[in-house]
Symmetry: C2
Subunit: 224 residues, 2 copies
């Protein structure tokens, strides 16, 4: 049986910085969709696993090192790519704020972060892929503690709170939220405090990694 189906991976990588959730996009250097914005990604090599392909493409096209990666969905409609039959396995990634420095190369002219509310027109069916990824992010953050993956190792509590209000698109009660998070015991409060220009300085927190992985492994219910 001769198979002429091509296989690619695409990555929807989210980053968060000061109230903005961004997606990483690259400007295509070649046809099809030359000069259009698209998700970073490309053909899977025969001797690499899928995750390796994603990490390689991300590194080649954007220089970003991923912090959290999971498979999102596989898109295989017959007509999704003008080059012929191309099935794409989409991944969902999160990076910490210090990954915001980019350097494009290979197949990409440049890589940039775009606020998820102001995305440009995208190549292929990538708009749909991004949409599904956003839904997954919003869904997931309410029942798994993945929000931490988007923050620095040490962060003020207000950053976590702001991340959640941004992602969920609604205000949350600071006291109730802190109660919930505190009850999970995933946060260690550090001695250090940090000031945001004006106002009372806040304590820095960090993850309790052990506890965090325990919860994750247990598939813990973590409703916000």
């Amino acid at each position: 049986m001769k198979n002429t189906i091509q296989l690619t991976v695409d990555a929807v990588v989210f980053g968060y910085e000061s109230g903005n959730i961004s997606v990483l996009l690259v400007k295509r250097k070649y046809e099809p969709y030359k000069n259009a914005w698209a998700l970073p990604g490309g053909f899977v090599l025969e001797n690499e696993n899928l995750e390796q392909a994603v990490e390689r493409e991300l590194s080649e096209e954007t220089g970003v090192k991923i912090n959290y990666l999971e498979q999102l969905y596989t898109f295989g409609d017959v007509a999704r790519d003008p080059r012929g039959r191309v099935v794409s396995i989409a991944y969902f990634g999160l990076v910490k704020p210090n990954a915001f420095k980019l350097h494009a190369s290979t197949d990409a002219q440049k890589a940039e972060w775009f606020n998820i509310a102001q995305l440009p027109k995208l190549a292929f069916d990538h708009k749909k892929i991004v949409q599904i990824a956003i839904e997954r992010l919003q869904g997931k953050i309410t029942y798994e503690p993945i929000g931490f993956e988007l923050l620095d190792k040490r962060f003020p509590f207000s950053d976590l709170e702001k991340l959640y209000t941004t992602l969920l698109g609604r205000e949350i009660d600071r006291r109730n939220f802190k109660k919930k998070i505190t009850s999970l015991k995933v946060l260690d409060e550090l001695d250090e405090k940090v000031s945001k220009g004006r106002g009372r300085p806040g304590s820095l927190f960090s993850f309790n990694q052990k506890r965090y992985f325990q919860l994750k492994k247990a598939g813990i219910i973590f409703e916000i």
Copy 2:
């Protein structure tokens, strides 16, 4: 870029009958893993969508018509198939009890239902795939009303209850469970009653399709 990666689909199809949750397996007719049990599935044709491929393979190999189908996960490890690089997109399916009559053909010697607690040794990485599918089924049934997909159109309430106790692997309180389900208003109680040999006969119920699709669309929270 020449791509010699092959693409297959595999289906983990669950059926339920009188307290038994079963998975549909086929006995392989050809190498590799000739005579071993495996998930129904096969190569994706260039001009068919992924779901079409699943349905075609299921129909060819088992004669089963699927009632609910969703994508499960894509398995792409380099060494998962001795024939070379084969990436498989696994699907998750549910069928109603009247689908329990099977007729194998094409690549399969025969098709059979196996209780999920007594599976034979499986070809490829299909054991892992089945495991992931079982986790998905157990997870999903607690927050989406997919349990109905496994029952006949008209069923006694005790069947639904038993399905849940079986899937969750624990007893559930009949009164609380009925309260929960009733509050969703997805069930219509029919006038007809049915007896299970001995004991008091129970009313038959059916889904309120409209309400059911409303809930599904709204991604309703449906915790059991």
